[in-house]
């Protein structure tokens, strides 16, 4: 138990990390909602519109929570130096990087499905290398960690606004399904 205690991440850091992790997930969701919103506006009533927006926001919250839990569990089970000591910076930057790669994959999905091993293996190696590089840089340079932490703090404020909409989304979804 002592080992786990030493790897414990403060609740303030957990909260900050959640804000940073949830940010790209929500931005992606909101951009796509906004793209389709004019079409929805034509055909849905105000109450239906609230429901249609509520579900994807709720999904974004759940997706953020899952990633956050995964990072928190990793921080708990891995040696402190690996993740827990720089939890906010490392979890934030790794999830941001993951989000960037996933967003790119969405854009080029039609090409990806045509790839054979000769394209897929180098691509996966490049992705893996990018994670190792970013992880190494944050571990190596304290100033970088500090910048990321500051960025995480700034983005977390925005995310807490998104959380408010998530909460409203939850209420709407629950009422609509009563």
């Amino acid at each position: 138990m002592g080992i786990f205690k030493s790897r414990k991440v403060s609740s303030a850091d957990l909260s900050l990390a959640f804000g940073a992790i949830a940010f790209p997930i929500h931005v992606w969701a909101i951009i796509n909602i906004l793209i389709i919103f004019p079409a929805w506006l034509l055909r849905l009533s105000l109450w239906e519109l609230a429901g249609a927006v509520g579900y994807p926001l709720l999904d974004a919250f759940i997706e953020s929570a899952i990633l956050w839990i995964v990072m928190a569990v990793l921080a708990l089970i891995l040696p402190g130096k690996w993740l827990a000591d720089k939890f906010v910076a490392l979890s934030s930057v790794l999830i941001w990087l993951l989000s960037a790669w996933v967003a790119l994959a969405h854009f080029i999905f039609a090409s990806i499905v045509q790839w054979g091993p000769e394209q897929m293996i180098p691509a996966l190696l490049l992705v893996a290398f990018s994670f190792v590089l970013v992880y190494g840089l944050v571990q190596r340079f304290a100033r970088l960690e500090s910048w990321i932490k500051k960025a995480a703090q700034g983005l977390a404020v925005l995310t807490y606004i998104y959380m408010l909409f998530d909460l409203l989304g939850l209420v709407v979804v629950v009422i609509r399904n009563l």
């Binding site: 992606w28 079409a39 579900y55 997706e63 969405h106 979804v173």
Partner: protein
């Protein structure tokens, strides 16, 4: 005296916001409801082919033998030669068929749309007597949303997934009480469509998972369906399963019943069974037509290839219908059943456009089949008057000795009415996907067929297309636009459309 709202007051008001969307009481619902029941307790079986254009059916004279089994069925049926859909895609066309009103009234005019709530109890199912048995099935999720809306009056609602080989949809399982809206959201979250999936990670995982599942399905069904497994909106099926279900279950259904069965073929993608591929590799070349202002730029060669594939898929659907027809004959179901065969809308392969997702309303998209067989009918009867899908509900009411529905915009079909045929009858088709559900149809296309003429009227499009006028008697292929040569006819028909739009608060 306090001049501003307290936090508590604000929250109280905020909690009332959802009430804004509640429908106003519908005074028409206070009227005594229509109840369909045929005099001899006959069953009513409505069989809808999705995207079936009458212009492609050999039963209507198409040169390819696409519908030999429907030709057999027609030998004991009334065959309507100028029957028109209410809309040009599933939602609007099906809603008109089920409610007996045009899209400008029911307002199911968008993909995944529903009708106004006032039609929840003004449709074919609600008109059937309480205690009478109603059942419904469709492959098409757009039609399923409408059936879900009318579900309170459907005794046996066979879900799409129950007769599909694969259906990843979760909305009806998790959010059944909010099906139509949750399905809209599900499509955004996992499938995207007009956008990328809104679920960043889940959406990508879903896309890879579906690839793997499709590959597995292809291993199983690929040899039978080399062009691809029939599907729509990520729901995969084989038509045989649905027909087998009907063959096995129909005799056991509580009688009398009203059954609505809406199959997807020949809707795109055109993936027939192996034995239908290559059936129409002939030299048939349809009439060349000028490109539409809304052309997608498809070449005639590409369109003819699409047409051939559609015809093959239609022949496959017809053969499956034939299997059902033989089973009904053998089991004596036709002796006590009114069988109606029709479609929700048509399909076109001309003027640079393939399919039906188009603002245009040319005949291949709006001219749909209607064949009605009543017990004891042994001869084909051809009827050439203009009719509409909104006529089905009043016709069923008439057959059951009921007054016409107070809300309906249709007439009893010729052949089932003692009244003389109205030769100057106006029949409309409406396309308004880009207009709001409530309020004026500010961007729409309306086709009006009346007498010898058809006017296609465009409203609110950026290219500002002029109305098109055709004489369908002399020019059934709509080759010569007469709007310039006969401006008074065009103006009169345009005026009638605009008056109709005003009457329905759509102008």
């Amino acid at each position: 005296m306090k001049s501003s709202l307290t936090r508590r007051d604000f929250l109280k008001l905020f909690s009332l916001l959802p009430l804004l969307s509640l429908p106003l009481p519908d005074l028409q619902q206070q009227q005594s409801p229509l109840k369909l029941q045929t005099p001899a307790g006959q069953n009513i079986l409505i069989f809808v082919f999705d995207a079936l254009s009458a212009r492609h059916m050999s039963v209507y004279g198409y040169p390819r033998s696409t519908t030999p089994n429907l030709e057999r069925f027609a030998q004991g049926a009334a065959v309507y030669h100028s029957h028109h859909s209410g809309g040009n895609f599933t939602t609007s066309g099906t809603a008109s068929l089920l409610t007996g009103v045009y899209p400008w009234t029911h307002r199911a005019i968008h993909l995944n749309g529903t009708t106004l709530e006032s039609f929840n109890n003004k449709n074919i199912f609600s008109a059937y007597p309480q205690g009478g048995f109603t059942c419904a099935f469709t492959h098409n999720l757009l039609a399923e949303i409408l059936l879900q809306q009318f579900r309170a009056n459907i005794s046996l609602f066979k879900r799409t997934r129950e007769l599909a080989i694969d259906d990843p949809e979760y909305s009806d399982r998790l959010f059944a009480s909010d099906y139509d809206v949750s399905l809209v959201s599900e499509q955004l979250i996992l499938r995207g469509g007009e956008t990328k999936p809104s679920s960043l990670l889940g959406g990508l995982l879903y896309r890879f998972l579906r690839l793997s599942q499709k590959s597995h399905m292809a291993d199983i069904y690929g040899p039978q369906f080399p062009r691809g497994i029939p599907n729509l909106d990520d729901v995969y099926f084989v038509l045989e399963d649905a027909i087998n279900w009907l063959i096995n279950e129909l005799p056991a259904v509580q009688k009398p019943y009203l059954s609505y069965f809406h199959i997807l073929p020949p809707h795109e993608p055109y993936y027939p069974r192996k034995d239908f591929i290559g059936r129409f590799q002939d030299n048939f070349i349809p009439a060349a037509k000028p490109p539409s202002l809304f052309s997608d730029g498809r070449s005639d060669e590409a369109l003819n290839k699409n047409r051939m594939e559609y015809d093959e898929y239609l022949a496959y659907a017809d053969e499956e219908f034939g299997r059902l027809y033989d089973s009904m004959l053998q089991k004596g179901i036709l002796d006590n059943s009114i069988v109606i065969v029709t479609a929700d809308h048509g399909e076109m392969f001309e003027r640079g456009i393939a399919g039906h997702v188009t603002p245009t309303l040319y005949e291949p998209v709006t001219h749909i089949p209607l064949l009605i067989s009543v017990p004891g009918q042994t001869q084909r009867r051809d009827i050439y008057s203009h009719t509409s899908c909104v006529d089905l509900l009043p016709t069923l009411a008439s057959l059951s000795g009921q007054p016409l529905p107070s809300w309906g915009e249709g007439l009893v079909l010729p052949g089932f009415s003692a009244d003389p045929v109205q030769k100057d009858r106006s029949v409309f088709t409406v396309e308004a996907k880009s207009s709001p559900k409530q309020g004026p149809l500010n961007k729409a296309t309306v086709a009006l067929v009346k007498g010898d003429y058809k006017l296609i009227y465009y409203r609110g499009y950026p290219k500002n297309p002029m109305p098109e006028l055709y004489n369908l008697s002399n020019d059934p292929e709509e080759l010569q636009d007469l709007a310039g040569a006969q401006p008074s006819v065009a103006a009169a028909l345009q005026q009638e459309i605009e008056d109709k739009l005003r009457q329905t608060h759509s102008f």
